[in-house]
């Protein structure tokens, strides 16, 4: 064998080994069965709070839905991003089009690991990178609540993504890089209130999905956690919600909690864009939950704006 041939063969072997490792590493994983056995049977009443905290209706109910229609989770809301268009699926109790046939373990695998009952990776447009931090009990309660919701027939269109983003297996490697059930921000001597807020913001609330800038591979840049980011959709930005320059240093905790409740900023501008939908969910929480979120936001590290300065 010539020298070039040898190098080529070795190179080929390395690629083959790499691909095999990649194939192995990118395999969808379900959560350890023992995780969910730590939870007691789900409580639908408590699950309603998690439903609002998690913002489920914002993507899975029809756009602009009000009242009871917010509990009709037939999906269909589109998220138009640079990767392509993601379509929120039907998660109503319909047995064939929705999740009516799912077990709690199926639900936990989706929420905590981003894996479907048939063992495929979900795209992280479904914010399981945040939901991965949720408590098993909250997953069980949310599942119990979802089971009280109506079945709505109808399948949504599939995602419309360009290569290589349409290769689901690639998400497995992405998950290795970006998925963690550990808290993002370690806060020394944090009060229970701050910790409760951290859980709501970093877990079910998935605030970082829009407010944290993303790196070249679309993963959250946790070094600039909640510093604001270029919006995934449209040509706007999502504001910096840390105390850094351009952020909300001049908002008090009461200002933040009040904004989440009423939609008005301290100077009486009103909530806008996709945050309007989020704020409607936050308004359904207790003032205690909103105050915890506010306390956490005042406790996290300050960063300057996570998006480029505006061109004049």
């Amino acid at each position: 064998m010539s020298r070039v041939g040898k190098v080529g063969a070795i190179f080929g072997l390395v690629i083959a080994a790499g691909s095999a490792a990649g194939w192995f590493l990118s395999a969808p994983q379900r959560p350890d069965q023992r995780i969910m056995t730590t939870a007691e049977p789900g409580n639908a009443e408590r699950g309603l709070r998690i439903f609002h905290a998690g913002g489920c209706a914002s993507c899975h109910a029809a756009k602009g839905a009000e009242g009871e229609a917010r509990f009709q989770l037939a999906g269909g809301v589109e998220l138009r991003t640079p990767f392509g268009t993601f379509v929120a699926p039907n998660i109503s109790q319909d047995a064939s089009d929705g999740i009516g046939n799912w077990t709690l373990d199926d639900f936990a695998a989706a929420m905590l690991k981003g894996v479907s009952p048939d063992g495929r990776h979900y795209y992280p447009a479904f914010p399981y990178t945040s939901y991965a931090r949720m408590k098993p009990q909250d997953i069980a309660d949310l599942f119990a609540f979802m089971q009280t919701l109506p079945a709505v027939a109808g399948q949504t269109a599939g995602h419309d993504l360009a290569f290589p983003f349409n290769v689901r297996r690639g998400i497995g490697l992405w998950k290795l890089l970006y998925m963690s059930d550990r808290p993002v921000v370690e806060i020394a001597d944090a009060s229970d209130k701050v910790l409760a807020g951290r859980y709501l913001v970093e877990g079910p609330g998935h605030c970082g999905e829009c407010h944290t800038p993303r790196d070249f591979a679309g993963g959250p840049d946790t070094g600039r956690w909640l510093a604001g980011a270029v919006a995934a959709e449209g040509d706007g930005v999502v504001p910096n919600i840390t105390a850094g320059e351009g952020g909300i240093a001049d908002w008090s905790e009461a200002d933040i909690a009040g904004y989440l409740e009423t939609g008005f900023t301290p100077d009486f501008d009103s909530v806008g864009g996709s945050m309007a939908e989020v704020q409607r969910n936050m308004a359904e929480l207790t003032s205690e939950d909103r105050e915890a979120i506010a306390a956490y936001l005042k406790a996290i590290p300050a960063h300057p704006n996570g998006y480029p300065a505006r061109r004049p």
Binding site: G234, G236, V237, T262, D269, G272
Partner: protein, 145 residues
């Protein structure tokens, strides 16, 4: 006397002429709306006492503000760039934008037609006014930093 009449007519003309700086004008109107909304909100939250006459004055000022909100003059074609948070949807969906603005006018009109006599009445009217702010900003305003 003639000079005075002339001055008045010039002023009147200037008032109807197309705005020289629509971005500044629409921002000033929105700023004023925010301030008036804040005045009502302080009463709703109990930070200021309820005073029917003062609430009525604020609602009248909101009506005046809405009356000045001439969409054609404030959002002419081409005023979508520069230091503005106006969303492209304003020009892509002008009917939707008009409807959203009308919700504010209607909510203020309803509050004036049945002027709040006590705090609870104001709360109900204020809810509709506040909702109209968010409903419009949800689709027609974007943050640009």
């Amino acid at each position: 006397m003639r000079k005075l009449l002339l001055a008045i007519s010039i002023l009147a003309l200037a008032g109807t002429a197309a705005s020289a700086d629509p971005l500044a004008d629409r921002k000033a109107l929105m700023k004023e709306r925010g301030k008036l909304t804040g005045d009502l909100s302080k009463v709703v939250k109990g930070q200021e006492p309820f005073d029917a006459a003062s609430v009525l004055r604020t609602l009248e000022a909101m009506k005046d503000n809405a009356g000045k909100f001439d969409i054609g003059a404030l959002y002419p074609e081409g005023s979508n760039t520069g230091d503005t948070s106006a969303a492209p949807a304003i020009w892509d969906n002008p009917d939707g934008f008009r409807d959203a603005e009308k919700k504010f006018e209607d909510a203020v009109g309803a509050a004036l037609a049945d002027a709040p006599a006590d705090l609870d009445a104001l709360k109900a009217k204020f809810g509709a006014i506040g909702a109209s702010c968010g409903a419009c900003h949800e689709n027609f305003r974007i943050h640009k930093g």
